[in-house]
Symmetry: C2
Subunit: 222 residues, 2 copies
Amino acid sequence: MGKHGQYQGAGSSARSAKSIGATAAALIVVPGARHPHNPRMNFCSHCGSDRIALRVPDGDNMPRYTCDACRAIHYQNPKVVVGCLPEWDGQVLLCRRAIEPRHGLWTLPAGFLENGESVVAGARRETDEEAGARVEIGELYTLISLAQIGQVFMMFRARLTDIDFAPGPESLDVRLFREEEIPWEELAFRTVARTLRTYFLDRKQGRFPLRVSVLERKPVHR
Amino acid sequence: MGKHGQYQGAGSSARSAKSIGATAAALIVVPGARHPHNPRMNFCSHCGSDRIALRVPDGDNMPRYTCDACRAIHYQNPKVVVGCLPEWDGQVLLCRRAIEPRHGLWTLPAGFLENGESVVAGARRETDEEAGARVEIGELYTLISLAQIGQVFMMFRARLTDIDFAPGPESLDVRLFREEEIPWEELAFRTVARTLRTYFLDRKQGRFPLRVSVLERKPVHR
């Protein structure tokens, strides 16, 4: 599902690398599923029956995985990706990905929000995991709906509290970039490119209003 | 799980009412599950095995449902609730709930974001479904993490385009309230109370900055 151009499946980016590997690939790559961003269900996770299918439940208007044996309805909903744009002395911190998708490309620290944490705590954790960096999280800056892959991307502005950072297991490299050094052709995700592009424009104006937008599915070149 | 004080399970509020009814109650009420906001898995939805348990996968740091038969890892993540605060001539639109949880109490129109829609589209859809109302969605106003029940609540300011609204199937009543008429003691959710309280304070200042906050689990009175 790399063609959808964002984090795949569920879980943090650390986990995604493993999920896309040999062991769980069948779960993540689900040809024929109606929602490519959510795993296909072959069996009811409640009762174990294989009498499960995507259909519109009574009183609903969207297809859901429903079980004809125990009548459970299994809802699947978008996931939240949280991260930040860490600033230091006019520079921005980027991480070079050590994992798929987009191995070797540059990104802002971000990953899937976990149960039990706030959006701010999630952004802080991802920055620590991917860049070994400590940040003060500031205002929410971009809120991007990736509707067709079922993700909501939230990027906060942030201030590095020191520059004693180091790549975590998911990163090949972490470094600070001035605007003219940003590797625009080697950014991992369109959400990251949009956030950075808008940021440098807004910085010239000296104000950073929240930018709410939608990112459509990238055209597939055949 | 009504004690957690928010929408339960997954899916839109329309569906929640049905899920909490007889047919799917076993799926929604999951005593013993580690994450009360996500359904317990008894069987692997990929291969049907019952050799499934909550454990921390290699290289991960949080428990996940993992299958010892096919090695699938089933990630569960927070869900997004989107809604709005519809304004008309100094008044605010509220809906009186016709469904559980919080039947008979007042709320702002809101519900679970669906796959395939943007956060703005989701807020507009919920307003149409619950209040039969058309709105122009404005700026994001509150972003509240309900970490312990795995929800992210996003409320936009909005402007009613007309007052030809009417309760949908999930609402007993829909009406406009002036500040002094707000039924503070009969609000359905703390997220709604916080959004309204902040709104009337901010309105006095004539500005509505985005309010990012966390809502802790409500103390249980024993």
